[in-house]
């Protein structure tokens, strides 16, 4: 019983710590392949275990782009912030750190 409780708690912690990176691309966007490379490489450098990468192809799934109001591509969205165009790894790292700081603040205030 205690084990079960412990497992449950650690799963919840993992879910909190994993940062979701959403990458919006399209079939016709010329800059998207390079941007996707940059995103994947940055995630690898940071330690891919800490992230979940969600790739949304707007050509196949325009509803998602509409839901989030994303109309310029490529766009990377991390925790309520976004960058448009081929991002610099530094910028992505700043966003990731921003999300980490925010989540720590939230945990601290609980």
């Amino acid at each position: 019983m205690a084990d079960k409780k412990k497992r449950k708690a650690s799963t919840k912690k993992d879910a909190i710590e994993k940062i979701e990176v959403v990458f919006f691309k399209s079939d016709t966007c010329a800059f998207c392949p390079r941007a996707e490379e940059v995103v994947r490489e940055t995630i690898e450098d940071f330690g891919s275990d800490a992230f979940t990468l969600k790739v949304i192809n707007v050509s196949e799934n325009p509803e998602s782009a509409e839901e989030f109001g994303i109309f310029a591509l490529p766009t990377v969205m991390i925790g309520g912030m976004s960058v448009t165009g081929i991002p610099e790894p530094d910028m992505l790292m700043k966003m990731v750190l921003g999300v980490k700081v925010l989540s720590k603040k939230k945990e601290g205030s609980k």
Binding site: A30, G69, T75, G80, T84
Partner: protein, 248 residues
């Protein structure tokens, strides 16, 4: 119809068709320019509403500025029930306004992007409704959303071409900044469109203003070269073709 006659789309604005040989040429891009408060959004929304209700032409209204609930509320005072048309799938209102809560905050922009997302969103709605009319309200807001104006200029041409290739007639609205003599913030608005209509709300005395409308260009059409009176009535915008604006 003879081979030389252009298929025309009724504007749904009483009096306007008479100034432009019966309507906008089908499949063209038309720019509606004017300063703040001149009635651009009302005219564009009326084009979509009347298209669906009187001419059996479904329409897509893409709002980049005003949230849909305010557009619906404001049009109700002219007796135009947009909500009903949305429910009946005769029009769709695409909400890309900044008021959406889930829209992320843009913290960085690199000059390596296109508007293929916007294109996919609009094409999806055109396909779903088999739309014949599209409105993009307003182009000007893009100047505040993105820094890379050169990219935007090029992308607007692509976007307009892609939309009109589906057979839709496209209306773009553009806000002319105060004290500006051009047609919008991008300086290319006039080139984007084969037709340009300018709305005015000029001060004619210390206590009154006068609304008017001018067809600045409309390729393939003999159009009036005068500035005509226009009013926002209880039933929406109305143009008086025989009445020349007192403000000019």
């Amino acid at each position: 119809m003879s081979d030389h006659e252009i298929d025309r789309v009724k504007t749904g604005i009483p009096g306007l068709d008479e100034l432009i040989e019966g309507g906008f040429p089908r499949g063209d891009t038309i720019l509606i320019a004017g300063k703040a408060g001149t009635g651009k959004s009302i005219l564009a929304t009326q084009f979509i509403y009347k298209g669906a209700t009187e001419y059996d032409e479904p329409g897509v209204f893409v709002t980049l500025e005003e949230p849909p609930h305010l557009i619906k509320r404001n049009m109700m005072r002219f007796g135009m029930d947009l909500e009903k048309l949305v429910n009946e799938k005769r029009i769709s209102i695409v909400d890309l306004s900044p008021s959406k809560e889930v829209t992320p905050v843009t913290i960085g922009e690199y000059p390596s992007f296109d508007l293929s997302g916007l294109e996919a969103i609009i094409l999806n709605h055109i396909k779903k409704l088999n739309a014949k009319r599209v409105v993009l309200d307003t182009l000007s807001i893009m100047a505040y959303k993105f820094k890379s104006r050169d990219i935007l200029r090029e992308e607007f041409f692509k976007l307009a071409a892609t939309i009109t290739r589906t057979g839709c007639t496209l209306l773009l609205t553009s806000e002319i900044p105060a004290d500006d003599h051009g047609l919008g913030v991008f300086d290319i608005e006039a080139f984007l469109a084969s037709g340009v209509i300018v709305l005015y709300n000029e001060k004619i005395s210390d206590t009154s203003r006068s609304r008017s409308i001018e067809v600045l260009k409309l390729r393939g059409s003999k159009h009036s070269s005068r500035i005509h009176s226009m009013r926002i009535t209880d039933e929406g915008i109305r143009v008086w073709p025989g009445e020349i604006s007192p403000g000019t």
